[in-house]
Each structure stands twice: as structure tokens, then as C-alpha cells.
Symmetry: C2
Subunit: 189 residues, 2 copies
């Protein structure tokens, strides 16, 4: 951030009066530009004993598999956002049934909210952000080609709960431990 | 938003190519300024059979009672943010124990995440954003002087669960139905 979005003058990265962390503050009008984490909302779309995965047509992780999910928009609920993303990326109309998992990813300032969602039929189609979309049984999940640690963790918890017959609501953090080699740890609350 | 924070030129509010909703887009450099909901993270601090409430020293709802909560910051987890806000507003060091409730408030583009948290002792003190802080038994909760519908709803669910002996994870939406008179409805997923 270089300029004030209110008045167009330059900003300084300083600690405002009464605050305890640096913000971008306008040098002319004094406006404080707060920056906060973003929500990513998505679904685990269920059809019989299969779930719907998308192969990414965009960076990062082009060509790898993920659950349909994306940035929550203003003026929608988180469940509406999860359903919208599933329609956009996977061409599937779903009914969101239950909050399943929430993860903080502080290294990229994101919170993931993943919902279980039922598919009324087996209709789906790759959206513009997907190369391919498909229904997968547990034994066929491409574990080695998943796009993100949060997808891996969500799917592990999902199949583990399914085996017990009871789906819980999971919450925790995915913490980046190192870049080379890329390594994360998962902490469950 | 009037000016591009990247280059300082004017922005237009238009639908970018390949998108389906209007964004602020720079007329010079083309940068797209996305705006997304913000997370509010907070606690239900527990001490014996009491919980800790704060009386607001700031607008909106100056003088009314609330649970300690505030905007989540970058580079922290949601539980860390909830704990930080409790220390800042109520002077209480808490240990976050469990995600308790998540609500979407689409009319103000916020998501609330409320955690149960235990207080190691009965120490607390009003921070700069609080007029007063106090421990309340259920029978003494100032129901008519609560600051926000989300606080009312969280406390109702909390005491209801406590009576059953089992705390669940709640999720839902708080939808504004009208301004005059001010009226909301709560939808549980």
C-alpha cells in the first residue's frame, strides 16, 4: 500500500496513537487503513459414498486437486459463500448441511471454513477455475496430488469421522514450520 | 474508496473481466481492490459458575454490555486473537478451550467466532475500550443492556448448553430484518 484510498496522498507505515501495531496511515487526512485476515469458504460435496473434488486451472497449485472453496464476499453468509463457490468451481448445486472444520492459517492471513454439503444429484461440470471435476470414493482420493495442506487435513478428518458414524465440528490451526523443505504442523483445539 | 492504493490514480466501480460483481478497479494500473468480510473473534471467559462481561466505553453501543471481542489481526490465529482481545478489553489472561459459536452477520460484513475460555483466577480490569468489567452469574446477566444481538444469542446458547451438561459448536446467521423497528432473526444451520 502506497497511497491513501480516501484522498490519494501518500501513506506511512506507523503505529497510530492508542494502537499497538503498525498500520498504513495517511500522511494528509490521517485515515488508518486496517488490514485483516480473509475468509475462505468451501464445501465437501457428498454424493452417495463419494465426494466431489476439483483440479485447479489457476495458480497457485495449478493442476492439483482441491475441494471447491474461495474467498467469501461481502453481503453473503459463510454458508451461502461456500455454496456459491461450489457452483462456480464445480458446477454443482449443493445444500450446505453442517459446519465441518475451521482452520486458521496465520502465515497467509486466512481462515478456512469448510462445510459438509449434499448434492441432490450427480450433476457437476468444471468451472473456469477448474480443469476437471470428479466424484471420488475414499480409496481413490489423490492424496499425493492435493493442492493444499488444509485440503489434506479436512479430508483426513472427514473420512475419520465418517468411519465413526459421527461428524463433529473441528477447529484448529495450520502452522507453517519451514519453507525448505515445505513443512506444516496441524494443531487441533 | 476513491483512489488506487497502489499507484494513487482514481478508481472506477466496475465489474472486472471474468468476474460477476463490481469492484473498485484502478483506471491507470488496473489493480482490482477486493473487499471482503472481517472476522470478529472473542471469548466467553469462565470463572467458577460466572462469566466475564465488559461495559463498552466506545461507540457503537457505548455503555452497554458485551463479551470481550474484536477484529482479528493478520499473523495471528483466531484463538490467539480471541485471547488477545480478552486481555485488551477485560485485563484477563485466559486459556481458550473450545470453539463455541460462529455467526455470519451479512448486513455488516462480519463473521463472529466466539470461544469458551477459562480464567486461571478472578483477575480482570477494564481496558481502554471498557467502562467496567465484571463476573456475572446467569441470573444476573443484564439481558436488557446487551450491546449486540450476537452477544445475546451467544449467551442464550451458552446457558442452554450448560444446563444440558454438553457444550456443542453452534453455527448460524444473524439476519437484519428491518431498521425501524430494529429487528433481527437468527438462523441456525
Amino acid at each position: 500500500m502506497n497511497y491513501c484510498s480516501q484522498c490519494g496522498e501518500g501513506v506511512n507505515f506507523i503505529v497510530p496513537d492508542g494502537d499497538n501495531r503498525a498500520r498504513h496511515v495517511c500522511s494528509a487526512c490521517g485515515y488508518i487503513h486496517y488490514e485483516n485476515p480473509k475468509m475462505v469458504v468451501g464445501c465437501i460435496p457428498e454424493w452417495e459414498d463419494k465426494i466431489l473434488l476439483c483440479r485447479r486451472a489457476i495458480e497457485p497449485r495449478y493442476g492439483l486437486w482441491t475441494l471447491p472453496a474461495g474467498f467469501m464476499e461481502n453481503e453473503e453468509t459463510s454458508a451461502e459463500g461456500a455454496s456459491r463457490e461450489t457452483l462456480e468451481e464445480a458446477g454443482a448445486h449443493v445444500e450446505v448441511s453442517q459446519l465441518f472444520a475451521m482452520f486458521s492459517l496465520p502465515h497467509i492471513n486466512q481462515i478456512y471454513l469448510m462445510y459438509r454439503a449434499s448434492m441432490p444429484d450427480a450433476s457437476f461440470a468444471a468451472g473456469t477455475e477448474s480443469l476437471d471435476v470428479g466424484l471420488y470414493e475414499e480409496k481413490d482420493i489423490p492424496w499425493e496430488e492435493l493442492a493444499f495442506p488444509v485440503v489434506n487435513e479436512t479430508l483426513k478428518l472427514y473420512f475419520s469421522d465418517r468411519q465413526t458414524g459421527e461428524f463433529r465440528v473441528h477447529s484448529g490451526d495450520i502452522i507453517k514450520e519451514s519453507s525448505e523443505p515445505l513443512r506444516y504442523r496441524v494443531e487441533h483445539l
